[in-house]
C-alpha cells in the first residue's frame, strides 16, 4: 500500500466522521479522537478562538475541547494561558519542551506539538512527550481535513443556534403551559369548593389547601383588613409550609415600613402585587430572611374585594421558584380570587338571609304563641287540648317521616287549630251533655273562624288551611267544606286523628276522660272512612310501639 493510498484512507475516514456530526462538541471530540487514533499523539486540544497575528505572548484563550489530558480536560470551557507561538502560524510540528511547559502536567511533560490551524476557526494542538514516528507529512496531510472541519464547525454552530432557538421557544412555551395548567387546576378546584362549602371559614381554608395541594405553591394564606388605627390584619386561613412564618412576621396595611410588602400593599391599594425575587426585591427586605429560610422565592398577593369594590382582604401565594408568576398565571389567579370574593359575598348574603328568615320565623312563631296564649286566657281547657294535640300530631308526622319543616308547620297549626272557638259562646263550648243542631252548627263554625283569623298572616307554612280542614273526613262527611280523600291536606288529616284521640282520651268540662282504649277504638273503627289509614296506623304505632305519652296533663 503506497503513501497516497494510506493518506487517502485516513482522509476519507476523517471526512466521513466530520460530515456525520451536527453539533460542535461531539464534532470536536470525534475529530480529536480520530486525529489521536491515526497519529498516536496521546493528547489533543481545540481552541476555536485563537488570537490574531498580533498581541500578547501568553494570551488567555478559551479551551473548547481536550482529550487525553485530565487536568486540561477539567478546564474545557474556561480560558487557559497558552504561548502565542503555539497558537499562531501554519501547520507545524514543534519539538520544544520549554514552549510546551505551560501545558505540561506533573506526570507527563510534553515535548512535541503538532499544530493544525482550522482555517479561520481556531487551532488544534496535538501533544506528546515525544513526536510519534511517521513517514507521512503530518503538517500537510490534514490540511483538507481542517478545511472540512472549519466548514463543519460553521454548519454545526448554525444548526445548534437554530435548534437551541427552537428548543428555547419550546421550553418557554412548555414552562408557560405548565404554569397555566397549574393555575387552571387551582382555579377549577377553587370553583368546585365554592359550590361545596357552607361557610366563609370553610371556603378560605379550602382555597388555601387548593392552592398548595393542587396548585403546587409552597404556601397560601388569606388575611382580612382590620379597620383599626394600627391598620392591622387578621389571618383567616393558611395552608402549606408555614413553619411559624405567619406568627413571626409583622406587617400591616398602613402606608409605612410594615405596609410596603406585597400583602400590605395589595390590602391598601387594591392592586395585585408581585415579588419576583424575594432575595433581591428591596420592598421585601423586612421579611426576606424568614421567607428564604422556608423556601419562598417569589410572592403574589391579590386583593379580595366586595361587591362594591372595597378591599376587605388579600390572598397571598408564596412560590418555591424565583419569578414563578407570569402574566397568564397572575390572570388566572386573579380570576380565582375574584370568584372567591364573590363566593364570600354569596355566603355572607346567604348567612344574612338565613338570619332574617330566622328572625321572621321567630316573629311569626311569637305571633302564633300569642294567639295560643289568647285562647288559653279565655279557655284553658282548649289551650291544653291544643298543646297535647300538637304533641301527638308531631309524633305521628315524625312516624310518617315528614320533612322537619312540614312537621314544624303542623306543630304551629296544631297549637292554634281551635283558635276559631273564640267566636263560639263559652257556654256552648263547656256545655255538658248533647248539643242541639244549632249549638253544633255554631261549634262547627270554629274551623272557618280560625281560618279567617289566620289567613292573612304570611306564614311560611299553610297554617290557616290546616286549621280550616282539621274537621274534614275522608268520606266527605266532615266540615266545613265536606272535602274528600286527597282534597284534604296531609297535615290536616294528621291533625284530625290527633284531635279526636286527644278529645276522647282527655277530661272535658262536660265529661270525664274516656281513656286511650276508647280513643284507639274510635280511630281503628273509622280507619279509611273518616280517617287516613296511614295516619291511623302511624298513630297506633306511636301509642303502642313508641310508648307515646302526653307531656301536658289533660
Amino acid at each position: 500500500m503506497n503513501r497516497e493510498q494510506r493518506i487517502l484512507a485516513i482522509l476519507y475516514e476523517m471526512a466521513m466522521v466530520i460530515g456525520g456530526e451536527v453539533s460542535v462538541k461531539p464534532l470536536l471530540t470525534k475529530t480529536l479522537q480520530r486525529l489521536l487514533y491515526y497519529t498516536s499523539f496521546p493528547a489533543g486540544l481545540v481552541f476555536l478562538e485563537a488570537p490574531g497575528a498580533e498581541g500578547a505572548e501568553m494570551p488567555q484563550v478559551r479551551l473548547d475541547a481536550a482529550i487525553g489530558d485530565y487536568a486540561l480536560g477539567k478546564r474545557v470551557g474556561q480560558t487557559v494561558a497558552v504561548p502565542a507561538a503555539l497558537l499562531r502560524g501554519e501547520a507545524e510540528l514543534l519539538e520544544d519542551a520549554a514552549l510546551l511547559a505551560p501545558l505540561s502536567g506533573k506526570t507527563r511533560p510534553y515535548a512535541a506539538c503538532l499544530r493544525l490551524p482550522i482555517d479561520h476557526h481556531g487551532v488544534i494542538l496535538l501533544l506528546a512527550p515525544a513526536a510519534p514516528h511517521t513517514d507521512l507529512p503530518l503538517t500537510s496531510i490534514f490540511k483538507p481535513v481542517m478545511g472540512s472541519l472549519a466548514r463543519a464547525i460553521l454548519l454545526c454552530s448554525h444548526h445548534e443556534a437554530y435548534t437551541s432557538g427552537i428548543i428555547s421557544e419550546r421550553d418557554v412555551a412548555w414552562a408557560g403551559l405548565r404554569k397555566v395548567n397549574r393555575a387552571l387546576r387551582a382555579l377549577t378546584a377553587g370553583n368546585e369548593a365554592l359550590v361545596r362549602v357552607q361557610t366563609e371559614e370553610e371556603l378560605l381554608g379550602e382555597m388555601c389547601r387548593t392552592l398548595t395541594g393542587i396548585g403546587g405553591y409552597r404556601m397560601a394564606w388569606v388575611c382580612y383588613r382590620v379597620n383599626d388605627e394600627a391598620h392591622s390584619v387578621r389571618i383567616m386561613a393558611q395552608s402549606g409550609h408555614d413553619e411559624g412564618y405567619l406568627e413571626s412576621v409583622r406587617f400591616s396595611w398602613a402606608d409605612d415600613d410594615l405596609g410596603q410588602g406585597p400583602t400590605g400593599t395589595a390590602l391598601r391599594t387594591g392592586a395585585f402585587q408581585i415579588v419576583r425575587d424575594v432575595k433581591s426585591d428591596p420592598r421585601f427586605a423586612p421579611w426576606r430572611e424568614g421567607a428564604v429560610e422556608r423556601g419562598y422565592y417569589s410572592v403574589l398577593a391579590l386583593p379580595l374585594k366586595d361587591g362594591a369594590g372595597e378591599v376587605f382582604g388579600a390572598v397571598t401565594i408564596d412560590a418555591s421558584e424565583v419569578d414563578a408568576f407570569d402574566q397568564e398565571e397572575v390572570g388566572l389567579m386573579g380570576d380565582l380570587v375574584r370568584d372567591i370574593a364573590y363566593g364570600i359575598g354569596t355566603l355572607r348574603d346567604r348567612e344574612e338571609r338565613r338570619r332574617s328568615e330566622e328572625e321572621l320565623h321567630e316573629g311569626l312563631e311569637d305571633a302564633i304563641q300569642a294567639v295560643a296564649a289568647t285562647v288559653e286566657m279565655r279557655d284553658p281547657y282548649t289551650a291544653g287540648h291544643q298543646r297535647r294535640v300538637g304533641q301527638l300530631a308531631v309524633a305521628i308526622a315524625t312516624e310518617l317521616r315528614l320533612a322537619p319543616e312540614r312537621i314544624h308547620g303542623l306543630r304551629l297549626a296544631s297549637i292554634v287549630h281551635d283558635v276559631g272557638k273564640i267566636g263560639v259562646p263559652a257556654e256552648i263550648l263547656s256545655k255538658p251533655g248533647r248539643l242541639n243542631d244549632i249549638e253544633f252548627s255554631m261549634i262547627k263554625l270554629h274551623a272557618k273562624i280560625g281560618y279567617e283569623i289566620l289567613k292573612d298572616v304570611k306564614f311560611p307554612w299553610p297554617i290557616a288551611q290546616i286549621v280550616l280542614q282539621h274537621h274534614e273526613h275522608l268520606d266527605g262527611s266532615g266540615y266545613p267544606n265536606g272535602l274528600k280523600g286527597d282534597e284534604i291536606m296531609l297535615e290536616a288529616r294528621i291533625l284530625t286523628v290527633a284531635d279526636v284521640v286527644e278529645a276522647i282520651f282527655a277530661f272535658r268540662p262536660y265529661r270525664a276522660a274516656l281513656g286511650i282504649d276508647k280513643a284507639m277504638d274510635e280511630i281503628r273503627s273509622n280507619r279509611g272512612r273518616f280517617y287516613d289509614p296511614d295516619v291511623v296506623d302511624a298513630c297506633l304505632r306511636v301509642w303502642t310501639d313508641r310508648a307515646f305519652a302526653f307531656d301536658h296533663p289533660a
Binding site: M1, Q5, R6, L8, A9, I10, Y12, E13, M16, V17, G20, T29, Q33, R34, L36, Y37, Y38, T39, S40, F41, P42, A43, I67, G68, D69, Y70, G73, G105, K106, T107, R108, A128, P129, A130, P132, H133, T134, D135, L136, L138, I141
Partner: protein, 388 residues
C-alpha cells in the same frame, strides 16, 4: 517462588494451591491474586474461589483459550499472579452497546475508579474483556475520554477460541460474561503492544462496515471475496466451520498515519455474507485486506523489549506478563509462535513469563501512546513493582 509474584500450577490441586496461597498470604497479609485459566480448566473456577475464600484472599480472574508459560502454550494448569496489596478490582458484566447506555456505564466505571486514582505515582488500568463484547474499541475510547492520562492502559480479551459464549470472568463469588474485569495496578507503567505484520502489497477496500461487522469488500459481499482469496492462496474451500482457521490469514488492516497497521481478524460469518471481527472497524473506514501477511518476529520482539526497557529498565528476575494473540498463533502456526516466545524469553533476560493466549489486546506502541484495541499482537508488561 519467594522472590517471584507469579506461579504456574501444572495441575489445579487443592493442596499445592492452598500451600502457595498460604505462603504468599503469610508474607503479604493484604495480598490478592489474579488467576489466568485455560479454557480446558474452566471447571476449576469454583475450586479457586473456594480456596481463596478459605484463606480470605481476594481473587479475580479470567479464562483464555490457553496459557503462556515461559516459551510454551499450555492448555492445563493455572497461573496465579500475586498482587502484594490487593488494589481496586471490579467486574462489570453485560456491558451495553447503545451509546446512551455506554455513556452511563463508563461514567459508573470512572466513578468507581476515582477514589483509587487519588495520589501520585503511575497507575495502569488493566482490563480483561470477554471477547464476545463487540464494542471494546468504543468502550476504550470512552474510558480514555474520562480518565485520560491519569492511568496507563493495558488489557486483553478472554473467552473461548471457538468464539462460543462462555462465562469467562470471575471474582471471589461470581462468574460472568459479556463484561469487563477492571483492575488498577499501582506503581505500574503500562504495557507495550506490537504485531510486526507487514504492509500488504495487495489492497482491497472494505466498503461497508458497521460496528464489528464488515458487509462488503470492494462493493461485493465480503464472504465472496474471502472465498476467492482462500481458493487462490491455499486451494481450499472456505466455509462456516473452517472460517476462523483461514480468516486469520486474511485479516483486515486499518492504516494509521504513523505507518503502523491496526489489525482486525474476522472470526465469524453471518448468513448474509457479512464478516464479524473482534473489535470495531471505524464507520466508513477504508480498510486494507492483509492477505497472508508476512510477520517480522525479530522486529516484533525487538520493539517489545525496547518498549519494556523504556517502561522500566529490568533488573534480573523481574516477572513479565505476556498476552499472545490466538489469531496470530493460528496464522503463524504453533511452532513459529513458540519460536517467537522463545526469542522473547531469551532476549528479555527477565524472570518468569506468565501469560495467556488472548482474543484481542489493548495497549500502545510506547508509554503514553493513544491506547488502542488490537488483534494479532503481543502485549508485554512488567508484573509487580518496576525497578527504580
Amino acid at each position: 517462588m519467594a522472590s517471584s509474584a507469579v506461579h504456574y500450577l501444572p495441575q489445579i490441586e487443592e493442596r499445592p494451591l492452598q500451600e502457595l496461597l498460604g505462603a504468599w498470604r503469610s508474607a503479604f497479609p493484604k495480598m490478592g491474586v489474579l488467576v489466568l485459566l485455560p479454557e480446558a480448566e474452566r471447571e476449576a473456577i469454583p475450586r479457586m474461589q473456594q480456596a481463596c475464600a478459605g484463606l480470605r484472599v481476594p481473587v479475580v480472574g479470567a479464562v483464555f483459550p490457553a496459557l503462556v508459560e515461559g516459551s510454551a502454550f499450555r492448555t492445563q494448569g493455572a497461573w496465579l499472579l500475586r498482587l502484594d496489596d490487593m488494589p481496586h478490582a471490579a467486574l462489570y458484566p453485560e456491558l451495553p452497546q447503545q451509546p446512551t447506555e455506554i455513556d452511563a456505564a463508563m461514567d459508573a466505571v470512572a466513578a468507581d475508579l476515582a477514589p483509587a486514582l487519588e495520589g501520585d505515582g503511575d497507575m495502569t488500568l488493566f482490563m480483561v474483556f470477554d471477547a464476545m463484547v463487540p464494542n471494546v474499541a468504543t468502550l476504550l475510547d470512552q474510558l480514555y475520554l474520562r480518565l485520560a492520562d491519569r492511568v496507563h492502559y493495558m488489557g486483553a480479551n478472554a473467552g473461548s477460541e471457538s468464539f462460543q459464549p462462555m462465562p469467562c470472568l470471575f471474582d471471589g463469588t461470581r462468574i460472568v460474561q459479556r463484561g469487563m474485569l477492571a483492575m488498577l495496578l499501582p506503581d505500574h507503567r503500562g504495557a507495550v503492544v506490537e504485531h510486526g505484520y507487514g504492509a500488504p502489497p495487495q489492497t482491497l477496500t472494505a466498503t461497508a462496515t458497521e460496528g464489528n461487522r464488515i458487509r462488503q469488500i470492494d462493493w461485493r459481499p465480503a464472504f465472496e471475496v474471502y472465498q476467492e482469496m482462500a481458493r487462490a492462496q491455499y486451494g481450499v474451500e472456505i466455509n462456516r466451520e473452517n472460517f476462523y482457521q483461514y480468516a486469520v490469514h486474511f485479516p483486515f488492516g486499518i492504516v494509521r498515519a504513523n505507518g503502523t497497521i491496526l489489525v482486525r481478524i474476522p472470526v465469524a460469518l453471518d448468513p448474509d455474507g457479512s464478516l464479524f471481527c473482534v473489535g470495531e472497524i471505524p464507520p466508513n473506514a477504508l480498510l486494507t485486506l492483509l492477505a497472508a501477511p508476512a510477520v517480522d518476529s525479530e522486529q516484533t520482539i525487538d520493539t517489545l523489549l525496547r518498549g519494556l526497557t523504556a517502561l522500566a529498565p529490568p533488573s534480573g528476575g523481574n516477572d513479565l506478563l505476556l498476552f499472545y494473540c490466538a489469531g496470530r498463533r493460528l496464522h503463524l502456526g504453533i511452532e513459529a509462535a513458540e519460536s517467537e516466545l522463545r526469542l522473547f524469553a531469551s532476549r528479555a533476560q527477565a524472570g518468569p513469563i506468565a501469560g495467556a493466549l488472548s482474543l484481542g489486546e489493548i495497549g500502545g506502541a510506547t508509554q503514553w501512546d493513544y491506547p488502542l484495541f488490537h488483534n494479532a499482537t503481543l502485549v508485554a508488561s512488567w508484573w509487580g513493582k518496576p525497578s527504580p
